[in-house]
Assembly symmetry: C2
């Protein structure tokens, strides 16, 4: 642990710099953008889960007064295909539709009502095809194929990936395989072998702001206002789709009303651009909630986990076979699958490990990135199984975990970053806080624990930032990190303020515009505070060096003698100079600016499983106390304790907010959220039939504890945070339910109906 | 002269990169900006040239439906005063109005018609005051004072300037005095003394796009879309006016429909911001042509020039007393006066020189910067007088000039940059082209010559730029130079393309936005190709260095072995690599960017008259052939030859366009343009009564010759250009008129009426 230092801005709960704008309704989101002459787009979506497209005729729709453009599959002809990992998507369906909701055509009209009316005039003839809407159906022999030739491959983690040839003619499109040690030998040595299968439901991000784009395609340039988490990567996709250099595409990002991964990569932005191109005017394409449900989801998954344990309770070998259902198009599926496959061993010492993770196409909504990115599917499995093993071997779940936990400095896999946290201490604290050792007297009540780990900060990250001082000494931060509500603008401003010795509110954050903002690959993977944080810190330090060098010249002293503090330059013998004075000395008039630049880039490591060592380990501990209502099957979450290793909390209240928000998010897939399909139709794409957690869903006793070891790789020892809170929730609750009732649940969400049926089955069995 | 080099892009007439947008009407100007909820502003202007404001009551106007805000002098209370050189202006008049057109109040309403209607409901009581509307009236004993205490001072060329105390209680507000040698001793030595007085009229810039601003004042931030030539300096003014840090102000500059100096500094932008603040919505404040006439003009001037000449025709001493009429507010008046005072000696060797240049307030429209910036008033005087002297002494005007011209390397004044051009060669060429030595047989026809010089590129310039390469190898230029129609975006892109060895159209220029574009003090003084040109060139070179360094690493060679050519990296033994390949090697994935930075800053020189040596000398030669119609007094400009020393023509066609445009502009003040005042009222603020040159005004035989010595300080030996063409026009024409008719004209413009009366007077005198 670093020697304790005093900071002026770091560690303080500064007032969010986007707060006033947001609470007064003045903050501009993409849906608020309103350009002169702007048209409104609407999408015609397939009613069938799988059908051949015989005819698409937009000519009647084009005749409707107020309609500026109708986009059909004809318009795809001049475009390249696209997709986050694989290029398997088109702006609208071409030969066939692959899920109920697949875009078939689109209209730009004077207003949304006219556009909706025009959609009804588009004539489409379908020929229905047999479909697959689950992993099992998709993997069955002679299953209908979602893509006629699905073994396509694409770019993964900076590398070209070719799907195995044998996947051709199947619904598999990707496999991640990894092994360390000799798993078969490990199983042979093991005294006990446990093999379980867990499933994870299809859930939706449910951002407050559904997907929205305003596109203006003019001449050979595209300008986009987009609610996106990765404007620079979106620019790259658009450049490819439209055969344009990146320099001709400009993505401006207003505030984003929630991302959670659902606004990564490319969704309907290219369709908006084509509408604009045809309509010869800006086009706003804003989804309804239902449309966002039909755009992207989290991957439903099936995780088969087999673990070998020694007589004395040591994990010896683990093998996982994971199937991730990516829906009709791959989106980020292969990447999510890769991460799920890599993360399935948990924070434990396991000498022999093997994983095979598959991505499976089905005729459902595409699944992509979602907070946790493949982790939650596997933490649910491995932390549930840890309790199964502990019970079988007669260990307390806490003791059993401690026995097997990785130690700080241990390697998760060879070539990767060593574990950067005391896992045991955190787990002990979580147990302490939940009152693990205290006896529970009430019936149907119990506690459960879980500890989880993911490689944090993303792979092959590239980031840069600039901090500039104007002639009047005011400071502007240029960052490509998207403010999705997480408070990045605030926390990054704190880093600048601390480095420059100025007040927090003296830092202004500039509008994000890919044309001029320094490059940042994206806002995901809990990366902003480490990846962008370091870029910003280095930019501020670069600016500081310049300021002190100039000041030393003016004050006829050495730069090392000077500091920046209290909003000015100070030195020995009461030397003091304002920034304004300095700027005037440098530039001879009230003019000019000084700009500091900073950058961060992930390393390449051929030894590491993913080709690049993790930036930091995101670690989370969770402990739940539940009461199960045997009459209704309802699980009451009485208490939840979450511990998050944030390295150093740059803004403690926002860190807590991130962690609490994460837990709340996970309560959704743990207890209630699930997109229900029947006959290929999504039955509940709305807030009435699809329930997300409300404040009523939170336990009365709910606590987040920030673990600060000050040893993260980010500025001032910070780590990234924001995804950890979700990881242990399902397993902690599931383990508690088992301890309360004897019912082991394998399939999320743990709805009252499932629990009630499960409890009934136990009674029958008894 | 440098050894001749071959360039791929430099020196080529590339298609303007703003051309297609502009000719198809797609180019966005400030007047085209249309924001949601935007209101429209209109200004109530004083009908009196000078009056005390007894009452201003906007309450009835505020009641009119559709009115969002009425701004009156009450709103000035929370603001600081402002002005380009002196802070003598308010958003609306406070105690008194100082010229007919002075803003008194303003309205923001749902549309312009409603705003106009509301203006009529504003009640204003005036008490008329005696006025001064000419230099003579203003300087008379006991003249009414435009400003009750006018000796205020301000910031000039980066230095604090205090107006002399004795100016207090007069209409004088600034004096520039300079002397070199001993002018009295010089006059004593002289055989001949010539003393003449010349006047220059009030003319208006007449940009195709009148002044326009869209302001959005929200919270503590101001966003402005403005047709301005100096967004960064405008930001500085606004920060001061509104007590805000510069970081809270963002100026975005769409295309500007002509500047010519009229869109420098601060005009009605702060009024637009106050309207927005009160109206709580964006406000568009677009002037009519008449309003722009009532906003800024060129300085009318009176130049008394006294020159002593030796027996053998050598200039010995020159003394100038210059009065520049700056109207009701100083605007850039003191700075223009300083330059006029400094530039009045012309391109001649004069051992003894003295100048006193005064800025005079009157009750007329404020005068500010205008293409030439104080030069045209004095070139008219000194180049007319050169012919007067030559005739008196019996020299041919060409020979007399050659006898006295400065030589390359000579100093204009001590401490300044030596003359960087062969003045004689240019003059000989101009004479040759006009056919100086050829006899004219027709009556009333003759030729005239002039050669003029100004310090170019501005004083205390600060500039920076960035050039970035995206992951796909496409290139973006970030420059603060405003595209006012001069073609800066095109020429600067050529510099980037040449340095990087890429095609011209591979360079995209980013939107100018003070929040993120690198700092540039302004677009004026023919500075862009030298000051910004060097910043851009250095940024491109910096990028190139980075690219070659990275490429050398990848290709395992030395950076010195590599070059950038043909859009890629090449080296010996057919080494070759595309930019895309390189970027992927650097960033490990299709991500990232490389950014080169460059800057330029004028030097400080205590020895130089203006504190900073000139960046380059802008030099122009003009030769005219005219025919005077004795019956009507009309001067027919038959032929005009203009030579411009451009150092190196980056884009020859645009250089010629700049120079030809300059000549055409000067034909205006030479022959026809003049704002006429009567009883304090401007009589001709419109295109019907105020004539500007049309294509019909151009001589049939009209030629621009670019002089290229490749020795300018700018990229590839370029100098700045764009103002030179104007300088010799009036004197060349005036001298030709004299030689054709014997009529010496002292007062511009040389209208038919004035010439006819002058000719009549000569006949009478005979």
């Amino acid at each position: 642990m670093k020697k304790s230092q005093t900071y002026n801005v770091i560690g303080k709960a500064e007032l969010r710099n986007d707060g006033a704008e947001k609470v007064t309704g003045k903050a501009l989101y993409t849906v608020d953008v309103d350009l002169p002459g702007m048209a409104h787009g609407k999408i015609l979506r397939s009613p069938y889960a799988h059908a051949r497209l015989l005819r698409v005729d937009g000519s009647k729709a084009e005749q409707l007064p107020g309609v500026f453009a109708v986009v059909t599959r004809e318009d795809q002809k001049r475009l390249r295909m696209f997709g986050a990992a694989y290029k398997d998507q088109t702006i609208v369906a071409v030969d066939k539709v692959r899920y109920a909701g697949d875009p078939v055509a689109a209209v730009a009209a004077v207003d949304e009502a006219t556009a909706m009316q025009a959609l009804e005039l588009i004539e489409v003839e379908y020929e229905e095809l047999p479909m697959v809407t689950s992993i099992d159906e998709a993997l069955a022999d002679n299953a209908p194929l979602v893509h006629d030739a699905s073994a396509i491959g694409g770019e993964l983690m900076g590398q070209r990936y070719e799907a195995p040839k044998e996947f051709s003619g199947t619904n598999l499109c990707y496999r991640f395989s990894y092994a360390n040690g000799d798993v078969e030998a490990g199983f042979k040595k093991a005294e006990h072998i446990f093999e379980n299968t867990f499933t994870f439901p299809r859930v939706q991000h449910f951002s407050m702001e559904p997907h929205a784009t305003v596109a203006h395609y003019e001449g050979d340039r595209i300008t986009l206002w987009a609610g996106t988490q990765e404007p620079f990567t979106l620019r790259e996709h658009l450049a490819d789709i439209f055969h344009l250099p990146q320099s001709k595409i400009r993505v401006i990002v207003p505030y984003v009303g929630g991302g959670y991964g659902g606004k990564l990569a490319v969704k309907t932005e290219p369709l908006a651009a084509v509408l604009s191109w045809k309509a010869k005017r800006p086009v706003r394409l804003a989804h309804t909630i239902e449309e966002s449900f039909k755009t992207v989801t989290r991957h439903p998954a099936r995780v088969r986990i087999k673990t070998g344990v020694s007589k004395d309770g040591k994990l010896l070998a683990r093998q996982c076979v994971i199937h991730m259902e990516t829906g009709a198009y791959a989106d980020a599926g292969p990447r999510v699958t890769q991460k799920a496959g890599y993360r399935c061993f948990g924070p434990y010492r396991i000498p022999h490990m093997k994983t095979d993770a598959y991505t499976v196409y089905t005729n459902t909504v595409p699944a992509g990135a979602y907070r946790g990115f493949g982790t939650l599917q596997v933490t649910w499995a491995y932390e549930s199984q840890m309790d199964i093993i502990a019970e079988k071997l007669g260990y307390d779940p806490l003791d059993f975990r401690i026995k097997n936990l990785l130690k700080k400095g241990d390697l998760y896999t060879p070539g990767d970053t060593p574990v950067d946290c005391d896992l045991k201490a955190g787990l002990m604290q979580a147990a302490e806080e939940i009152g693990w050792k205290q006896k529970i007297t009430q019936p149907n009540r119990a506690r459960g624990l879980a500890v989880c780990m993911k490689d944090g900060g993303g792979t092959y990250k590239v980031s840069s930032a600039a901090v500039k001082m104007n002639a009047d000494g005011s400071v502007v931060l240029l960052t490509g990190t998207v403010e999705v509500g997480q408070g990045a603008r605030t926390a990054l401003s704190q880093v600048v303020a601390e480095e420059l010795g100025i007040a927090f509110d003296a830092v202004t954050v500039a509008q994000l515009d890919t044309e001029i903002t320094p490059y940042d690959v994206n806002t995901n993977a809990s990366s902003s505070m480490v990846v962008m944080g370091l870029s910003v810190q280095r930019a501020a330090q670069d600016l500081k060096r310049q300021i002190l060098r100039h000041a030393a010249k003016v004050l006829k002293t050495k730069a090392e003698q000077l500091q920046m503090a209290g909003g000015k330059i100070v030195g020995p013998k009461n030397l003091s100079m304002s920034f304004v004075e300095l700027m005037q000395k440098i530039f001879l008039s009230r003019a000019g600016e000084l700009v500091g630049h900073g950058a961060y880039q992930s390393l390449k490591s051929p030894k590491a499983a993913l080709g690049s060592p993790t930036n930091f380990w995101e670690i989370a501990w969770g402990a739940a106390e539940v009461e199960v209502d045997r009459d209704t099957g309802e699980i009451k979450l009485l208490k939840y304790v979450s511990l998050a290793d944030v390295g150093r909390a740059i803004h403690p209240v926002m860190c807590e907010g991130q962690d609490e928000g994460g837990v709340m998010n996970a309560i959704g897939h743990s207890l209630m959220e699930e997109m229900i399909y029947k006959d290929g139709q999504l039955l509940n794409p709305n807030l009435v039939d699809y329930r997300v957690p409300s404040f009523n869903s939170l336990p009365k006793d709910f606590e987040t504890i920030l673990v600060e070891s000050h040893n993260g790789p980010g500025p001032f020892g910070a780590k990234g945070t924001g995804e950890g809170g979700l990881m242990p929730v399902a397993a902690a609750i599931g383990n508690a339910v088992y301890r309360a009732t004897g019912l082991r649940m394998y399939d999320l969400p743990l709805t009252p109906e499932k629990v009630w049926r499960g409890l009934g089955k136990i009674s029958q069995d008894l």
